[in-house]
């Protein structure tokens, strides 16, 4: 499985929009980092198993991701966190040998139900990848790409501007919207990709190590942006940088070897007083 595809139609599909009215449900689940009575659940995974052929990559993961919060998925390489992330908008459908069992509920439906259109799903659950991957098009066309595909009948230029502002890029590119997206710096390209992801107005944004290819300054801008995005969107981010998870997320889920979700709680609890010794050992660097 690769998470660094660049400029493919498949990725573009994840960033399109539909006018589907996807309903979020009120869920009261109490403590331990799950949605509380005052929160609504954006995505709920229930007993999710994922297999690549005979090999199990995710083992019985259940978690509820609250709406308009930042949830970080951390864990050692090969623990299944990216696999789980890509299950949420069915990106793993593209892998022939991948089989997903269990439910992932979004908008009141299991996204793996037979009547769910994965392309429509990906319009509501956008994705940002590890490597910035703007299309070889102008900045304007990059952002407007999903809107054109969905035949958006509103003011495209206004939506482009709004998206670039939301991605904290407008001030840097408003006088060169017709320049190629590829001419931007790495950090700007990643923010362009975020603008492209939010232009279709998704509800959830999946981010798979979005700053790992960026320098610290560019990464810090993305981190600030993620904080702002959480006012409008639910953000689920995979990161190998534990300090980044600590800085930007409200909740942290720790996956360990065997594809198990070992602990999921408020980020402060995970980084100050985790419940499980294995999590403690992982985040303090004694294991992993």
């Amino acid at each position: 499985m690769s998470n660094t595809e660049t400029g493919t139609e498949t990725e573009a599909e994840t960033e399109r929009q539909t006018s589907d009215s996807l309903i979020t449900t009120d869920v009261e689940t109490g403590s331990n980092g799950r949605a509380t009575a005052s929160e609504r659940t954006a995505v709920a995974a229930r007993d999710v198993d994922v297999y690549y052929g005979d090999e199990q990559a995710i083992d019985g993961v259940s978690m509820e991701i609250p709406e308009k919060r930042v949830v970080a998925l951390i864990g050692p390489s090969g623990c299944g966190k990216s696999t789980f992330l890509r299950c949420i908008n069915r990106m793993n459908d593209m892998i022939d040998v991948c089989r997903v069992e269990g439910d992932i509920e979004f908008g009141g439906k299991n996204v793996y139900d037979g009547d769910v259109d994965p392309v429509a799903l990906r319009r509501k659950i956008g994705m940002v990848f590890q490597e910035p991957n703007p299309f070889p098009k102008s900045i304007r066309d990059n952002v407007a790409y999903g809107l054109k595909i969905q035949k958006f009948d509103g003011d495209v230029d206004a939506r482009v501007e709004e998206s670039l502002k939301s991605a904290a890029l407008w001030d840097e590119v408003n006088d060169k919207l017709d320049s190629s997206g590829l001419d931007l710096s790495g950090g700007q390209q990643q923010r362009l990709c975020i603008a492209r992801a939010i232009a279709p107005d998704p509800e959830v944004i999946l981010m798979d190590e979005p700053t790992s290819a960026l320098d610290p300054i560019a990464a810090s801008k993305i981190e600030d942006l993620i904080d702002d995005l959480a006012e409008e969107y639910t953000v689920i981010i995979v990161t190998h940088n534990m300090q980044q998870a600590a800085r930007i997320s409200d909740r942290t889920a720790v996956f360990l070897t065997g594809g198990q979700l070992v602990e999921y709680d408020d980020t402060t609890t995970i980084f100050e007083d985790p419940e499980h010794d294995r999590v403690e050992d992982y985040i303090t660097g004694k294991f992993g």
Partner: protein, 232 residues
């Protein structure tokens, strides 16, 4: 184990904080002896020796800051570094209070006889030693016992202060009854007030040493259990 150097630094931090407490306790015991006996040479040694405590404190403060900046400790490691950072401040303050105590007993008579100075100061010193033993062992039960002992120390300090003041009043009344000259009376009173002031300040400082022991215990409970029940 990954991050072995980092783990070694954490182990060294814990050991160095304990070593600092040994140094402080040594100074404190010497200060108590100086105050009890009025040994000015010993008192000077304690006062001059405070520089070594301060240097140890600053070195450990630097180590805690560097661990935070370079290693970004989390979970139990974070609590160890944070608790240690706070505990060395308490130890440094105990060192300062030791210099105060040493300075109070500046003549051969030592401190005011109305207070059981050695026992009172010894109780506070034992609390610091026990708090540091709890820190070293991660013994939260011992920490809670130290917190309880502080109530007893506070009460003993209160009674000692009362005894000193009562003693002053009774001595003043006795002097009046003897019909001594006004000049002699004033000289005696000034001397008595000096003794009383030193005694009351010593009692106050002992009580504060007990408070620092409780602080150390409280930070240890936080360090071990992430529990702030004893803090404040």
């Amino acid at each position: 184990m990954p991050r072995e150097n980092y783990q070694r630094r954490l182990d060294a931090l814990r050991a160095d904080v304990v070593a600092m407490s040994d140094l402080v306790r040594e100074r404190y015991d010497a200060a108590v002896e100086a105050a009890a006996t009025g040994d000015e040479t010993l008192a000077r040694a304690v006062i001059e020796g405070d520089e070594a405590v301060n240097e140890r404190y600053l070195a450990l403060e630097d180590e805690c800051v560097e661990l935070h900046a370079l290693q970004q400790p989390v979970a139990s490691d974070l609590r160890l570094v944070t608790a240690s950072f706070k505990i060395i401040t308490d130890l440094e303050r105990v060192g300062d209070l030791a210099t105060n105590l040493a300075a109070y007993g500046t003549d051969d008579a030592g401190l005011h006889p109305a207070i059981a100075f050695r026992r009172l100061a010894g109780a506070a010193g034992e609390m610091v030693a026990d708090a540091m033993a709890a820190y070293e062992a991660g013994d939260t039960d011992a920490c809670r016992r130290i917190d309880a002992r502080d109530d007893d120390l506070d009460e003993r300090c209160r009674r000692a202060s009362e005894a000193v003041v009562r003693n002053l009043l009774e001595a003043d009344r006795a002097r009046s009854d003897e019909n001594r000259t006004a000049t002699n009376n004033a000289d005696d009173l000034a001397t008595a007030l000096d003794e009383v002031s030193s005694a009351l300040l010593a009692v106050r400082d002992i009580e504060r040493v007990g408070d620092h022991a409780v602080n150390i215990a409280a930070r240890t409970v936080y360090m071990v259990d992430n529990d702030d029940e004893l803090i404040y």
